[in-house]
Symmetry: C2
Subunit: 334 residues, 2 copies
Amino acid sequence: MPRNHQILLRSRPAGMPSLENFEMIERPVPEAKEEEVLTRTLFLSLDPYMRGRMSDAKSYATPVALGNVMEGQTIGQVVTSRHSGFAAGDLVLGQGNWQEYASIPGKTLRKLDPALTPGATALGVLGMPGLTAYVGLLDIGQPRPGETVVVSAASGAVGSTVGQIAKIKGCRVVGIAGGSAKCRYIVDELGFEAAIDHRSPEFGESLTRACPDGVDIYFENVGGDVQRAVWPLLNNFARVPICGLIAPYNETGPTPGPGLRSVLSKRLTVRGFIVLDHEERSAEFARDVGGWVREGRVKYREDIVEGLENAPEAFLGLLQGRNFGKLIVRVASA
Amino acid sequence: MPRNHQILLRSRPAGMPSLENFEMIERPVPEAKEEEVLTRTLFLSLDPYMRGRMSDAKSYATPVALGNVMEGQTIGQVVTSRHSGFAAGDLVLGQGNWQEYASIPGKTLRKLDPALTPGATALGVLGMPGLTAYVGLLDIGQPRPGETVVVSAASGAVGSTVGQIAKIKGCRVVGIAGGSAKCRYIVDELGFEAAIDHRSPEFGESLTRACPDGVDIYFENVGGDVQRAVWPLLNNFARVPICGLIAPYNETGPTPGPGLRSVLSKRLTVRGFIVLDHEERSAEFARDVGGWVREGRVKYREDIVEGLENAPEAFLGLLQGRNFGKLIVRVASA
């Protein structure tokens, strides 16, 4: 009789989370209720936004309650279905959370076609991170050919897609990443014009040199020191889509932002967005980015960690930039 | 033989300007060169942006050079014209600056029809401040009926127009102003739903009480403490057009802005704008706001100071909110 391993939120972190904030337990496998689908988790996505769910600070989403299973998007295989839209064996995308089995309302699931979204891509370049990049760059950033785009966390799931779409749109792309391997990757593999290592002591000067014409779009993924370094380089009428702020997620004090005077005098547009508000763009996204992936014009890299028990440590690594590519936990094999 | 009194920028202020930063001198009346028009200044507009021109900090416009005439928009009467578009006696809007006579390239002048822009309205509600309000509220703020609009400096040339246009668009308008006379005016005369005195010790609580449904548009005219009080009240998807920041104009230290985390979690749009970039909206503006003024749906108030020699003191008062309505200097009578 299989058991259901789950990872719970045991305590709320102050600042950077630690392994003690999580607890792994074993429970019986649930039964599917009416209109539900019992799924066996194959892949669990780990994403920076989960840091927000661990806190009870006011945010756009309800925090995970203490003692509850950590939330997360999963690709699962249907074990039993009590919803007419799904049958045993189907691959589904849904909110399966940090656990081996989940019984999920069928209406919240999406059936996956492995020809269109192979492997774990529905959690990465062809999923929420890819849509985040697509909406943030195109709808909010509104890139024009010849403009300079700076993207932070540039080797990550969102950042790498932002940069490659910006290239397709004719922009000059400067990526910011941590460490020489990631920097080489975004230039050599992804074709960005330049990569700047934010851990380098010459970070600020290197960034300035890499942007001789200033910065027209800063795709903000991280905040903190990187944001402070990019800000003075922004051109008049620059756009700053803010999709994440991984740096201040773990700061406990107040984190004032850039002075509004720069926003006025440079006529900046600074706009926060959350991908869940933009699902109406899913069809165009799937068509465009799906096509670019198939044509090899958008590449992606996955960092796959084996076993649910390793999810907490992998997540802590994500917050410190230790992953290289979209971080995915392989919970089971199909 | 008439002489030309001029007010020069004598020194750059650190923090709040003082009378010592200005100097009044007398020079011969200039002669119009080819394609120029010699104008006698009737009205000089005093506006907060002029504080920026007094500094040599990087901004969107070149500062006034030390020893040069202070810049400003004027309504003048043509004395002699060497441009085919203008004749003696015409009323013209242009960059006449802080002086009694100016010879101005004809191509930069606009002929005024006193039936359409009576008195000094071409410097106020039907001029740059009005267009600022129109573009900032409608194009950047994008008001929807039922939304709550908060406008700072609400009895001023820009703020009073913002609030009245917002009312026309079906919004609930809360104005922030300094002192009970201005607060009474914006409620009793302009019809705003509420007025909050930013000098009151209960400012923050009063503002919160006046916005039971939060704030959907914050039209930012002042920055500083008012901005800090409004920020926590912003709703998800709120828009913040930034048209001026009179408070930090006179702060000398760094003035950090609101944390980007709020911009992200509430999906705010924070956008600076400068009216000079939006002159393509002039025709719609003149049609709409001109019509509303004629219908009595948009009211305006002018604060007219007599005599060029009083411009510096009036300008210092403007920076401290001592004016009540659009501040205009009557330099001469037609």
